[in-house]
Point group: C3
Chain length 139, copies 3
């Protein structure tokens, strides 16, 4: 039985989804753990995680467009906009998706389905360096 934790960072180019599946898969492989879970955690409140279709980019474009419509930058009652009109919408889009994704590890590999990829969802307009923490637990 063992636990391995680590962090890595990813440089975003502003709003959008960035696949991190291979980085996570490498850490699972490096842990030597055969059965258990991997936890992926984003250490920010204006970026989040989502497991999404990884085949057709139009699915992610529609997802991003939906969140732009659902949480508009010009929402009149937002007070927390010190860093710009994308400040508060970023926090809400984060809250509506996930700060962590937990994936079972079976026979040394993540039990992702055929079309599932793990994506960092950057909600700020500007490029950011985002830190991801990973923990693999099992035996």
């Amino acid at each position: 039985m063992a636990a391995h934790s680590d962090t890595f960072s990813i440089r975003t180019r502003g709003k959008g989804t960035y696949e991190i599946t291979s980085e996570v898969a490498s850490m699972v492989a490096g842990s030597g753990i055969r059965d258990g879970t991997v936890t992926v955690f984003v250490r920010h409140t204006s970026a989040s995680l989502v497991i999404m279709e990884n085949a057709d980019p139009s699915a992610r474009q529609d997802l991003e467009a939906f969140f732009d419509h659902l949480v508009p930058e010009d929402t009149p009652y937002f007070v927390h906009i010190y860093e710009g009109p994308d400040d508060m919408p970023s926090h809400i889009r984060m809250a509506l998706t996930r700060s962590s994704e937990v994936v079972p590890v079976i026979n040394g590999r993540m039990a992702l389905g055929t079309w599932q990829g793990i994506f960092l969802f950057e909600h700020r307009r500007a490029a950011h360096e985002r830190q991801i923490a990973i923990a693999v637990v099992g035996e």
Copy 2:
């Protein structure tokens, strides 16, 4: 200390919520683990998981109706609709709920509250065979 992982599948009859609490509870009991966590993970991007009130079915009907309104099938800017008008809404409804649910295991049982059940949330109109991966980790 131990880790047990397994998969099972559930046949849906199209859109709606399907309780899987007893299947998960059986795997927790079978693992022999007394303290730790159970991770439930859906291996698809057009179905998701939600922990929901399990007493009155009207709560789940309202939940399903809300998601139908929040992510309409006829959203004019959706591009990813190759598989029909329920294609892209399915992915978004998945992203707004959860791909995994993690429940503490205490004294050999999930620490669910009195009214909590674990449900697969099928977002496609057609019946589907859905795969669920489970990992119980602890001691």
Copy 3:
């Protein structure tokens, strides 16, 4: 390798967000676990969890206002309103956020980012006693 699970309760004063970061951090410290994960789980379907900005209270006020607008109490098609107009909206706001948060533990501490706090999100108007289950797993 070890697993420690426990529960605690928090008394809410009705709708709003209530920080529980220090309670969770204490349980992580008390577990003696250096590397692994901590799972925080709310045992209710009308309250949820969210990791949110913990510096400026206006961010949480805007978050709460957004959910009030997104899931209005007077939604005409809601049937499950036996306990009042905040009954069904509470369940949906729970489903749109999270029942569990899982945070990696690295060197004996949660790997939270600088601005991240863990909050209980109470969705009912009335004060409630809410139970939180915690599981720390690792080595």
